[in-house]
Subunit: 629 residues, 2 copies
């Protein structure tokens, strides 16, 4: 049996295989937040001809069913099948992501007053060539020269010794030894180079996000960023959120698949950088990696299974300094790879790197750090203490669990206004062309506008009779933002969607207030709010406050710090002082497990309203509502 696509591909089908799996096997990936388990309802494909068994239609609307749409993961072909994959169902990974312009990071690094000291150091050595009267072994000769310079007890790997002989002779006994030495790790010889070959020094700083992977190529002599590359994390083929990935990792072969996916993503970027800048593999002599705890485990091929099992324990938070070869990175095999330390199962190296990049750990004023990405981690504190927690907000602001949700890519509705009189929505779409869905910032806009105009009430329920735009759909009432007549498709937010979004924002806000309560502080104690993450860049603070996601504070206290995980990784790549600072941050951070906190549950219930049950916490919203009504 064959599966044919209208785009031309022909795939031989295995017996009993569903469409989703068959496509995946051939490298054609569909959007599937749930990883192909039939729950997210996103892997829609249109059956043009042929017979198939539909196990379930999941969340498909009657309208969609009528146009022969099925869920690829719930549909098993019974005969040759011709299928069309709608544009919005296709998972585009490997695409470049628009990166916020790299600000002057060298200048920023200098502001730390930290020494430029990469992970590996180099020492130039001139050895006397061997003779009959000085006939010690090559390694002993190297050790002797090192001892003369005060280096003792260096560790030499088998790999190092295997390659040493040729380099010593090729370079006529004038070599540079690259080595590691710090308070964190014992002395180790890394590799040997001639002064002509492999003499330049580069490093990579990598942010492994659940959704995106970003890499800086850095000149380690000057600290300059030479190139930036990014891509979607191909692990998305196996699900959008961390939990789905962990489940996949614990299934046969899944761990290696996830590891390969993300390492390949990084290598693809790094290889094109090497080509572009004519850099040899051996010249990339160190790397730093920051990611949440699950991403850090998967990157190293370590099973993250225990992270999602009560009591939520990672294999490790402090990663030893393992090698590039062990990580399978296409950099010098011997290059050490520093993993920014994690704090707990749901507060990872991305947050530690982010705090390092925010400098909140250096100042006496109390600051709040928020990363509203796929998970929603927060940190509260100053130079004396830091509390941290994961809010389990889920990835709905990235489009998961929302009927028409999508990431902030071309075709996404990113901003919404609703006319308070006609209730007609005015939308702004990313890129050209028709809207295909709605992204995080669009959702925040939409909900706050619906709330302000009285389309929904404080509980997020539709106020019936307000406007014809409210209709009854498969999941109950929904608000129609856009109707695509040609494609028989509409973009809506359902009451279920709104409920999901309220849950997410409530989790974030309750996390903040719970942490504050824990230390006996209030919102007023916060001097500064750092908002991290790519998503943060597009948030309209006013609207997010109206939603009750961000605390109601003077706007100037908010600072958007972009991909602070990457900035932190970059800082750690450049300086031993800052790597130590990262370790100190991780040690200092007190992790609070919200899922077992009574206070959190109370705070969460109170935050499920728009913006909150306690309007006293949102004085500016209260004032605006007073004005609007």
């Amino acid at each position: 049996m064959e599966l044919r696509l209208t785009s031309g591909e022909i795939i031989e089908l295995n017996k009993g295989e569903n469409i989703f799996s068959a496509l995946k096997r051939e490298g054609i990936y569909l959007v599937a937040s749930c990883g192909g388990k039939g729950t997210c309802g996103k892997c829609k494909v249109k059956v043009i001809s042929g017979d198939c068994d539909v196990i379930s239609f999941g969340k498909l609307t009657a309208e969609e069913r009528e146009s022969n749409l099925v869920l690829a993961c719930r549909t098993v072909p019974k005969s040759d099948l011709l299928v069309e994959i709608p544009k919005e169902s296709r998972l585009v990974v490997g695409d470049k992501i628009a990166i916020a312009k790299t600000k002057d990071l060298v200048g920023y690094f200098k502001s730390y007053n930290a020494a430029l000291s990469p992970i590996v150091k180099r020492v130039y050595l001139e050895l006397p060539p061997p003779s009959i009267n000085d006939n010690i072994g090559d390694l002993e000769r190297l050790k002797r020269a090192l001892e003369e310079k005060g280096f003792n007890n260096i560790r030499f790997s088998h790999d190092f010794v295997s390659k040493m002989v040729e380099v010593l002779r090729f370079s006529n006994w004038k070599v540079e030894l690259t080595y590691v030495e710090s308070d964190l790790v014992p002395y180790e010889a890394i590799f040997l180079t001639s002064t002509e070959f492999c003499s330049r020094r580069y490093g990579i700083a990598v942010d492994i996000g659940t959704t995106t992977v970003v890499v800086y190529l850095v000149n380690l002599i000057k600290g300059e960023i030479i190139d930036v590359g990014s891509t979607y994390n191909s692990q998305m083929r196996h699900g959008d959120d961390v939990i789905t990935r962990i489940v996949h990792a614990t299934e046969g072969g899944g761990l290696e698949e996830l590891r390969e996916a993300v390492v390949d993503d990084i290598n693809t970027i790094v290889n094109s950088m090497k080509e572009r800048h004519k850099i040899e593999t051996c010249e990339i002599d160190s790397a730093t990696v920051a990611g949440n705890t699950t991403m850090s485990h998967l990157f190293w091929g370590l099973n993250p299974g225990t992270i999602r099992e009560d009591p939520y324990i990672p294999t490790l938070n402090r990663f030893p300094l393992w090698k590039g070869g062990t990580a399978k990175l296409s950099i010098n095999r011997q290059a050490p790879v520093y993993t920014v330390p994690c704090v707990a199962s749901y507060v990872g190296g991305d947050i530690v790197a982010g705090v390092l990049a925010s400098k909140m750990h250096r100042n006496s004023e109390v600051a709040l750090f928020m990363d509203i990405g796929t998970n929603g981690e927060i940190a509260l504190g100053n130079n004396e203490w830091i509390m941290t927690a994961a809010c389990s907000a889920g990835p709905c602001f990235e489009g998961s669990g929302v009927r028409c949700g999508m990431r902030a890519t071309p075709g996404a509705i990113e901003a919404v206004r609703i006319d308070p009189v006609t209730f007609e929505p005015e939308i702004r779409v990313i890129g050209e062309g028709h809207p295909m869905g709605i992204c995080g910032s669009g959702m925040i806009d939409a909900i706050s506008e619906m709330f302000l105009t009285g389309v929904i009430n404080q509980k997020g329920k539709f106020v019936s009779g307000t406007t014809d735009r409210i209709r009854h759909g498969e999941d109950g009432p929904e608000f129609v933002f856009y109707v695509d007549e040609k494609l028989h498709r509409s973009i809506v937010l359902t009451e279920v969607d709104i409920e999901n979004l309220l849950r997410a924002k409530a989790a974030v806000y309750a996390g903040i207030t719970t942490l504050l309560g824990e230390v006996g502080f209030t919102i007023d104690s916060i001097e500064k709010v750092y908002i991290a993450g790519g998503f943060g860049n597009y948030i309209n603070v006013e609207r997010a406050i109206m939603l009750g996601m961000l605390p109601d504070m003077p706007r100037e206290k908010f600072a958007f710090i972009g991909n602070s995980s990457l900035t932190g990784a970059y800082l750690c790549l450049l300086s031993e002082d800052l790597r130590k600072e990262a370790e100190e941050i991780a040690s200092k951070m007190t992790y609070m497990e919200l899922s077992v906190s009574r206070n959190f549950m109370d705070e969460y219930m109170s935050a499920l309203f728009l913006p909150h049950t306690d309007m006293g916490q949102f004085p500016t919203v209260a004032a605006l509502m007073g004005g609007a009504r």
Copy 2:
């Protein structure tokens, strides 16, 4: 084209391939001291039918040529060929070797008064299981328990961490950590086991000889030897002596081939031991290896090329403590493998281990250590100093470079008497059946008997007219010890053979006198002579003195210490104190490069006689000759 053997095998021939290579490709190995270069003349095969190009007949006698014998490495088939491989041409490796009975080595170990302290140690740990209130990572939990017991800054490999999670949980947080810690290496976690699984502890001690490989399986709790296994070193397929192997190693793929050969030899022995004693792979948690410098390099897959290039430099003499997995040994992947340190390119870990086993480094009396194996290394000294040298004796006492030479295996003439009146030889053959050649002890007997009876003179030349047994052969005069009428074959010693043997014994003796001269001592200063090596066990001291190979000293000063390389490896397996002693011995040994010594050349020239030009050095021989004449 096909090559057929009378024993039934059929081998498809590649174009232009010689018989030796074709057989080797199919795993049929011929005796070839030179590794198949046409110089040793040992890979004789009999052509029964078919056409072939004989590039050269090398050392084949007219008699042999007439019986259609050719050298396999110099003969290229031109048509289908039927060939018979004579018994003496077939290289039997993988065979068991008769091992001198293991004396009570535990008792011997105890005589050192050294602590029983294997390379790895174990510590039992009971970790509190994780909970919501104690939710640090698994590795952090392990580190905390270790810190409570005073262990800090332990190194954890990626391999260790990958496997740790399962063991911790399977064993319900009660585990044994195996680790390394010594003055020689920094702390490192090796592996984790539950108290039920992998709880026994074994180690292997390996002697890698150029000719044989011997393995002890040792119970590390009690120090007892549980089993002994041995085999010929399969590297012999690529040549008998160290130099031929080095040449092979530097040819494409040769290094890996040699490494695999010897590692497979060891693994075959170890695997059958594990099966026999029902031992798990993980339970063999450490290993020690002693071999000459080339063997040590090849075992670790390190190119020994520079060892034979002036100024004769090894890659290294002191091997770091690398892992079983790196060595590809079939023991615990993480088990450390200790390589007994080498001294120089031609004085290796076998000699250091031997000196350790002799205890000469602990006593004040001056002793001489001799290993007359494939190479001929000597050491002279006491508890204050040790001089050492390699005599480049070559492997002729193991049969190489001698027309009818062979190893001490069944069929070898091992003892010879010559009737002083009739000149009829009386021979003793190892095992049953007809003699096939003559081994080292047989050669020593034969030459000393020929000398005593006046068949040869002091220069090793035949005295013409003495007896009919002297005939003129292909290489000039030869003495016939045995004639096999049926096979048209005789066993002889030629004048060229005798010359080679005199060169070898002269090298050994000159080495001794040169070292003595260097420290201003004479033969009389030597209180003890330790003769190491399997060959040593069969030497008749009187005869060897008559030959001028051993110094003329009271017989009671000679001690045969067997495979002292293996004994030393065993001692190092058991005790940190003795590993340190081995390192000290290697440091203390002053290596003398004889090949550039003027004195050695003079001593060598004087020693080319029977027993020596200076008869004053051989008073007992002089007395005997006076009596005989």
